[in-house]
Each structure stands twice: as C-alpha cells, then as structure tokens.
C-alpha cells in the first residue's frame, strides 16, 4: 500500500470522530511516513513499518475515557433497540389493520363458541338438579300415593311405594352427582379465569 492509500483508509476508519481528531492523526502518520522515506526507506516499506490501521484506531479508542466508550455503546444499543421496536410495532399495527376482515370474525366466532360450550356445561348441571328435584318429588308422591292406594288396591299401592323408594334412592345418588357437578364447574371456572390472567401476564412479559 502506498502513502495515499494508507492515509485514505485511515481517514475512512476514523469516520465518526471529530474532524479535528481525524486531521491530527492524518498529519501525524503522514509525517511519520515522510520521515521514514527521508531516512532511506521506500514508500511501501515506510507504510508497512507504521503498523496496521486497526492497531492505530484501537490505540486512539483506548485513549477515550471509559465512561465515554460505555455511554456511546449504551447509546448505540438503545438506539438500535428503540428503532427496531418502533418498526416492528408499526409493522404489527399495519398487519392487524390489514388482517382485521379475516381475524375479527374468526376471533368473535371462537369467543362465541367457547362461551356457548361453557354455558352448555352449566345447563347440564341445571338439568341434573331438575332431575334430582323430580326424583325427590316423585319419591314423596309415589310413597304417599302408594300408601293411600294400598287400601283400595294392594298390588298397585305396593308398586307405587316401591317406585317411590327407588326414586328416593336415585334422588340421593342424583343429589351427590348434582352437587359434585356444581363443585366441578366452580373449579373449572376458576381455572379458566386463572388461565386468562396467566396469558395476559406472559404476554406483557414478552412485550
């Protein structure tokens, strides 16, 4: 490399430093090369003995106070991060708006479906309680009716009492089934609420 090429490369490597700083180091290294040539070295030799440009730039950087270096580094990282997230945020918003005719109905139908499934489960629980109530009423009615009927028609009365007792037994079973179904639904509802909360917290963390 000749002197001109060397100094031009050094200048471009020092890009970002103050013009004063650049001129100063160019003048210094230019003088150094000239003095070596004057001392008998040819141009290429003189440039080679100065050392690598990387080393020169590193030495200049080393002289900067540590605080300045860290501040500059932090600034560049922050700027990079801010510009990056701003762009990605804008991009996300554009995608959301452009995609809204597709995702909005889909999201609404998913929410409706989930809501209706949840409601259906509660209707099932309600049905269990209705069956339970029916069983209890039937049990009492059959036993009382059976006892009354016993005097007129013993066979029919016995049948009615028997049916009432079966219904009574069933109603005890049904009572526990209905009770546990309510407990189950309450637990299920709590789980759903917790899941939604977790989803929001994690989403915020990722943001």
């Amino acid at each position: 490399m000749n002197k001109k090429g060397f100094l031009e490369k050094l200048k471009s490597e020092l890009n970002g430093y103050s013009p004063e700083e650049v001129d100063r180091s160019i003048a210094f290294y230019s003088e150094m090369i000239d003095d070596r040539i004057e001392d008998g070295a040819d141009e290429e030799e003189a440039v080679a003995s100065i050392g690598s440009i990387e080393e020169i730039v590193n030495q200049i950087k080393l002289e900067l106070p540590l605080g300045t270096l860290i501040r500059e580094k932090a600034k560049s990282v922050k700027e990079k991060h801010e510009s990056g997230s701003k762009e990605s945020r804008a991009f996300t918003i554009v995608l959301l708006i452009l995609g809204s005719p597709v995702w909005l109905p889909v999201l609404l139908s998913v929410i409706c479906t989930v809501f209706w499934l949840y409601l259906t489960l509660w209707i099932l629980v309600l049905t269990l309680w209705i069956v339970e109530a029916t069983c209890v009423i039937t049990a009492f009615a059959s036993v009382i009716g059976g006892v009354v009927a016993l005097f007129e028609n013993s066979v029919l009365g016995m049948l009615s009492i028997g049916m009432g007792l079966i219904c009574g037994g069933l109603s005890i079973l049904m009572f526990y089934a209905a009770l546990y179904s309510v407990k189950g639904m309450v637990a299920f509802t709590k789980w759903i609420v917790k899941s939604i909360k977790l989803l929001i917290i994690r989403g915020k963390k990722e943001d």
Partner: protein, 109 residues
Amino acid sequence: MDKQLKRGMLDVCVLAALIGGDSYGYKIIKDLQPHIEISESTLYPILRRLEEQGALTVYSVEHNGRLRKYYKITDGGKDKIKIFLDEWETMMDIFSFIKDEMKGEAADK
C-alpha cells in the same frame, strides 16, 4: 512487562527523550527503540496525552517543503520525570530487599 507499568514507563521515556532538546515523532522512536519497544501507533496517543496534561508543547517547523511537528518538554513534564525517579527510588529499595531475602534463602540451602 505488565501493560499498565509499560504505559507509565513509556510516558516518562518520551519525556526523557526531550530533555536533550526538542524532537519530532520519528526521532523519538529511533532514540527510544534501543531501550524500550515503541511504535508509531503507541507514540501517537502518548504525545496527545502528554500535551493535554501540559507536560509538553507542540510547534511546527518547515522541513523539506512540509511541516514537521516538534515537541518541547515543559516544567510540568520535567516534574513528571522527577516524580517517576523518586517513586522508583522507593521501588528500588523494595527491590533490593526482596533480592537480598532470596539470596539469603539460597545461602541457607
């Protein structure tokens, strides 16, 4: 040699090279090279630092149709050398103590 130590040494070496008279970059390197390893890329920041500290002043002289920068040591620069020598006086005392102790150990064996 320890990097920090060498850095401090080089500063004083450059100042010492100016005691005999004002000098320029290439001459400083040539004068110091027999005693301590120094290159253009290390000399440049040292000269800048010493100038900022007021240990030397810079002036330009025309030479063969170009400007050459000459460096002149100031009183502040001379004080720096004196401080260095005083510090090393103490260092040398410690050094000879350590050396004598090692000699004593060698004699005991």
